[in-house]
Point group: C2
Amino acid sequence: MSVEHLHAVPHLTTALSGPLHDIESHFLAHQAHIEAWFRSEWVKTPAPFYASVDLRNAGFKLAPVDTNLFPAGFNNLNEAFMPLCIQAAQAAIERVCPDAAKVLIIPESHTRNPYYLESVATLTEIIRKGGFEVRIASLNEELPLPQTIELESGRSVLLEKPERRDKRLTLGDDFDPCVVLLNNDLSGGRPAILENLDQKVIPPLNLGWADRLKSEHFAHYRSVAQEFARMAEIDPWFIDPLFRNCGEINFMKRDGEECLHKNVTRLLGDIQKKYDEYNIDKPPYVIIKADAGTYGMGIMSVQSAEEALELNRKQRTKMSKSKGGQAVTQVIMQEGVYTFETWGEQQAVAEPVVYMLDHFVVGGFYRVHKERGSTENLNAPGMHFEPLAFAESCNTPDESKAPDANPNRFYAYGVIARLALLAAAREYAEHP
Amino acid sequence: MSVEHLHAVPHLTTALSGPLHDIESHFLAHQAHIEAWFRSEWVKTPAPFYASVDLRNAGFKLAPVDTNLFPAGFNNLNEAFMPLCIQAAQAAIERVCPDAAKVLIIPESHTRNPYYLESVATLTEIIRKGGFEVRIASLNEELPLPQTIELESGRSVLLEKPERRDKRLTLGDDFDPCVVLLNNDLSGGRPAILENLDQKVIPPLNLGWADRLKSEHFAHYRSVAQEFARMAEIDPWFIDPLFRNCGEINFMKRDGEECLHKNVTRLLGDIQKKYDEYNIDKPPYVIIKADAGTYGMGIMSVQSAEEALELNRKQRTKMSKSKGGQAVTQVIMQEGVYTFETWGEQQAVAEPVVYMLDHFVVGGFYRVHKERGSTENLNAPGMHFEPLAFAESCNTPDESKAPDANPNRFYAYGVIARLALLAAAREYAEHP
């Protein structure tokens, strides 16, 4: 019995989808090799505890544009695949800490976001059903704690105050966890209370935005994509967004504009060459964003170097701030990947987000946005998207079906997302 | 979104279900402890690669009656949970053999059974989708090989001839597997071609019926059940069928009848005591079956010791043969557990079978039989049952629902099935 009928699946504009079907065919033909390769890579560099990867599907190209190692949005996954999440969470926790019984979750501190807390509630449920005692500690010092927050789903979340006792993080005498599970990306820096704990902190603090750079991630992704493309016999460009990065940029003071201009120009030229090679009749564009940090703050989409420089003051102010209030000092310029997946009569743009627990792909959803174009970023601040859960899992490739049939498209998402996960694993191996 | 509506669930006759709801409540209340205990047990004695466990649910008692370490029936599982099977198979194979890429399945040799081959086809699919190259070798020397067998489901199975090359089992020059996966319970003995291989054989030959005794399994189960019952604060009898075994029995020659009579009498007395303790107004009964071997051959259900002795010749002939033609020399007498789960208007008897890959419960189905009573064995030879896939997974216990709500009943099945799996793991640890 298939659950296929329970959700429809976005439509991929087929006019431009030629090379992608080609990718999917290659993935199917090399499936056993691909999986064996992943297995051997996970032995060398174990997967982070969890991740979500934003993909963009241009038909001719399927590539990751963001890798989040402290994922939210678990509440947007298909409930039918909760058993898959629970099983993967069991395997993941067993691997890092076989004798764990109690897990303390540290969520983001901006706890007034009800959507985010729904995700925390689902994450808690997944781990609890996996057979662990789970409690939640907030690092937000302005909140009166403990505090129970009722959610729209009818669930509630109890936030408690963590206590540092020598080298352990506890909830009073009551709860001494074996594992501290970070769901906080540390955009605001590394909290002292989490440093040098006896307990296992997963993912480790070094994977927070306080220490990561997107450009480093995508540099690792580039070599992962090259190795993979060789094996799958495809042009690595089909799965890898080109990028360049600049040193110090201060948008307010207009420092570093020259570097920006030069790199955007080069990048657009490189993309155009690829578009020419594959007869893609679309204007190339470039995404400019903070090299550290998350969320859609301070993200620009430009089709020329001049556009980047003609920023008015308002835009510049926006660019100079990122989540947590940090001044943007380094930026990454990344090839813009068109989204040619659309949903419904309105042709709303749909961007897939894939979720992984350990090295298992456990599901995903589409961010469907009705008021945005195919070149715009769908993870902008305050942006309202409608989540559309993946109708099928990402681990049931089916050779007997067409390469672009749903199970095979979802499988392809899962492959690309795991390449990004592997890049993150290598990133961590360099700074353990 | 729940898949609950996709299948109905058998009805548990509630008149006698008092103590069981009690069990389920205990399982829910102790869930984190139970899972932590299982995790620590799997570290001590790793789970066999796979298993199916037949359960009987009497309302007042939920117990395993058979543990199959070479399970068939994968085709009867709910297709919606294939992703769960695929993920668990990946984890299971990775654990025993992280660099495996090629898997050779050795099915049962009675290859003309189309139902069985459907299961082999599903098992192949699960492992193939998990990212392994899979081929199938038959040990049946009477079959012309290679041979493709078309199945009713529209799938086909290619059986090939294995070749022993020094210490490796191969399919010619073509296919040198890393793992030999036995789906053959070795009722007919240990095939020489599988002895002393370089390749990992999973499950190991020692777990075949050539070397196992049910009484040994249930002796391990007894101590597992006692440890577990202490933790879950229940009477171990609620989950453990009483049993006794005899030495040599030859039904044809009427050797060993005295032992049979004595033990059946004692067993019935012990069951009656328990029935009195819990006010169960049903006649106790005893199942007599071969201590080694599988399938429902040579199984008797009796309500008195005399009944066991009054066997007519026909029944005795039946009892003296078990699968593979072995003479029955040892028998096990086991407390009969009533089945009070019924399905549909006809009140057909429904017996749950739970499937595990590694220590993960991946699903199950009910054997629904319309022409049998609640004391009869539902796995008899040539018996036609209708499989009714479990509507939900066994790993989503839900405290917010009643203890006997579907997810909690399925969770309870999964707990008991894993206790039997743990007994098998300990059995193996004793004879590695």
